[in-house]
Symmetry: C2
Subunit: 429 residues, 2 copies
């Protein structure tokens, strides 16, 4: 399908070149074919969208979440981590079924699309039904399954490995390339060195990246040092995990040596500010990571600790909190945050040609309403995206050239049915 968006503010996703003024955007099938003042000759649009009231920007990339956990939203707040996890989350997770995971994931996907996310990295159980939900929705995603989370571990290492390979073979690059798979190595506190190494070997064999929780709490780091003499990052280095591309959620409580290891091994750090604050995990050294050239993306984490999956919350918080902590109001400006939430995430998730609103790139983009009270007057489009917009201001979502939402109405998801089924599923947890 060819789509023409006329006279729209263009935010690129490239921090060094963030705003391209008011232009027309021509989308040809799954590619951004043209951005400029004219309309390309011979370009016959099937759809024309008036862009006058909108900012166009790359679709947001939620680089670390557990989409299904929206079912546990607002169920366990203001609690210590132990109480949250052992008294609340884990008992609920004992009750999950494929059907519950599918319905919860659909609710999470719907909330993400409605708040402008077009691509996400997911880690949970029952990834095959997660994949089915993603395919139904038309979104782009990278789905992580590991030797321990495929629910086949009790049948032995080789069986679990074959299961993960089957999942990879079925879904990696599936659905017109909108799906990718990666290997989950949950964390150093759940994976011993042998398990870390086994997941790393599997990732190498499949040419996959690894998705891991790393340095989330001070306790995790202290225990790791106590047990092994190494920080979790150094444990990963030793076990060969960092030989493949790694997407590491959280990365709080890192020392300077850890930062050098992250940088030298091209590890992506995923900043999840709402969840890190809410669980009192701490605050990541994001300005230091950016200064040292580490690729930093942004994620919502699961809604059990957020309690939304709205990347606009995370963008605003990313720009605000590090100014407050460093007492420097110039750190992590709006353009930098936008790049973190788009291009840096796309790069981390292994999608090429994604995360930039530029000619030749994949047509994942969103239109953000500037006619709402909170965006008037529109003095600066990049500031408006980060500091005064909310997920609710997203009007239109396009993924791979297909419209997933327009005028806040879903085209691929039955919202009423999704809500009904998710509510019912949540009562079974």
């Amino acid at each position: 399908m060819n789509i023409l968006i006329k006279n729209v503010h263009v935010i690129t996703g490239d921090a060094n070149d963030i705003y391209h003024g008011i232009n027309n955007i021509a989308i040809k099938d799954d590619i951004i074919y043209y951005i400029g003042k004219n309309i390309p000759e011979n370009f016959i649009p099937n759809r024309v969208i008036k862009g006058n009231e909108f900012i166009a920007m790359p679709g947001l990339v939620n680089a670390h979440t557990h989409a299904m956990m929206v079912l546990m939203r607002n169920s366990a707040d203001d609690l210590t981590l132990e109480n949250w996890l052992f008294q609340n989350i884990l008992p609920k997770e004992k009750n999950i079924t494929k059907d519950i995971v599918k319905k919860g994931t659909m609710l999470g996907i719907a909330e993400m699309i409605k708040s402008g996310t077009t691509c996400f990295l997911d880690m949970y159980y029952e990834m095959d039904v997660v994949a089915k939900a993603v395919i139904e929705s038309g979104m782009r995603a990278n789905l992580s399954y590991g030797l321990m989370t495929c629910n086949q571990w009790q049948k032995g290492h080789e069986y679990a490995k074959a299961f993960c390979k089957d999942f990879h073979n079925e879904y990696n690059l599936a659905n017109n390339g909108k799906l990718k798979t990666s290997i989950e190595a949950h964390s150093v506190y759940l994976c011993d060195e042998a398990m870390l190494r086994a997941n790393a070997d599997l990732a190498k064999e499949l040419n996959s990246s690894i998705h891991i929780h790393l340095h989330e709490t001070k306790f995790e780091v202290d225990e790791s040092i106590k047990k092994t003499g190494l920080t979790p990052i150094k444990q990963c280095l030793k076990a060969g995990v960092l030989d493949v591309p790694v997407i590491a959620a959280h990365t709080i409580w890192v020392d300077d040596e850890d930062l050098i290891i992250l940088k030298e091994n091209n590890v992506t750090s995923v900043h999840t500010p709402s969840s890190n604050l809410k669980l009192a995990s701490g605050i990541a050294r994001v300005p230091d990571m950016l200064d040292s050239g580490i690729n930093v993306a942004i994620g919502t984490d699961g809604a059990a600790s957020n309690n939304m999956v709205d990347m606009f919350n995370e963008m605003r918080l990313t720009s605000l909190i590090h100014k407050g902590i460093t007492l420097d109001p110039t750190v992590i400006n709006a353009a930098t945050t936008i790049q973190m939430a788009t291009y840096n995430g796309a790069k981390a998730l292994g999608f090429e040609n994604l995360g930039l609103l530029k000619e030749g790139k994949k047509a994942d983009l969103i239109l953000v309403d500037t006619s709402c009270l909170n965006n008037i007057p529109l003095n600066n489009p990049a500031s408006a995206i980060v500091y005064s917009s909310q997920g609710n201001n997203v009007d239109t979502v396009i993924c791979n050239g297909d419209i997933l939402m327009e005028n806040r109405e879903f085209l691929t998801i039955d919202e009423e049915k999704t809500i009904y089924e998710a509510k019912k599923a949540s009562t079974l947890l």
Copy 2:
């Protein structure tokens, strides 16, 4: 007018008794007449609202803002305080007129109502037109004017004093008691001891409270100590400012002695987390203030440093940030934050019988939609308000028994005209 809201979740605004289940709410004129399972005998409603999908809670009280500054939204971000203030904000403020202030304030009021605020404390120039905007909108407000900000100071102290008194006499308790006035003593860096004392004397004479910026930056505190040997709080104590009720915005960089002074003098601290983070002012010791029994309210500050006037942002940030800083996830739970954003603010602003959704209290309340994706499933209404709701989820706003917004449509404000005029006014700054 009598309004009946049927079968609605009731959040009270009292942290120790936050959730009252699903009930009917009967509003008689400006008072909450009944909350319970029944419908009072002889109560004949003019309007019946189905509450099934809603959480009812007290209208939010924005306890420190400069409403007009929405016109400067997104115009000066990621800058040092000096650059922000001297190169951007002050030059714009040289161009303000009564007309610009009125139109900017109307935009700010519209944004506040649309995000659930029913009452605010304002500090700016040209307060008479601010008062007119508030009256037109139907909102409740406390408006601050001081000897320096009434624009009559150049004519001498007595002239300015008479001007402030006239303003007080005209607007205090006006508009069915929905308006109150207070005395602005801007800050210790703009007011010397004589000016602080003159404002304090005027407040005493008028039986008013004082609204002040206090301990916003470390620089302010350091300079105060360098010049006078006293922290700004101690300067206020010495100048008699604390002899009247004081509403102090920010109160960052306080030592333990300052905290004792705030407590002993019943000073309200207004926490403005977005603005404090964005300007890199620092992070207030809110858990310590609450522990020592200080009344802490919440405000948005102006949109030039926020960049919204949406109290849902500030509630979420208040609950999140102090967990992250203290590394204790149990501090400032959802119920506490809700009380800060409602009852504590109402008390600070001098409105009696306000800020609680209980029988006999003033009928300022809002209905928050729970049928939106980000509030499904509704596991805990108080958590939903603080952690997963956004200003855009406010469906209905009632102030003093009058409906100001229903189904997100204004009843007292012409939204299109407000936006049109505000956009035009912003180009004149």
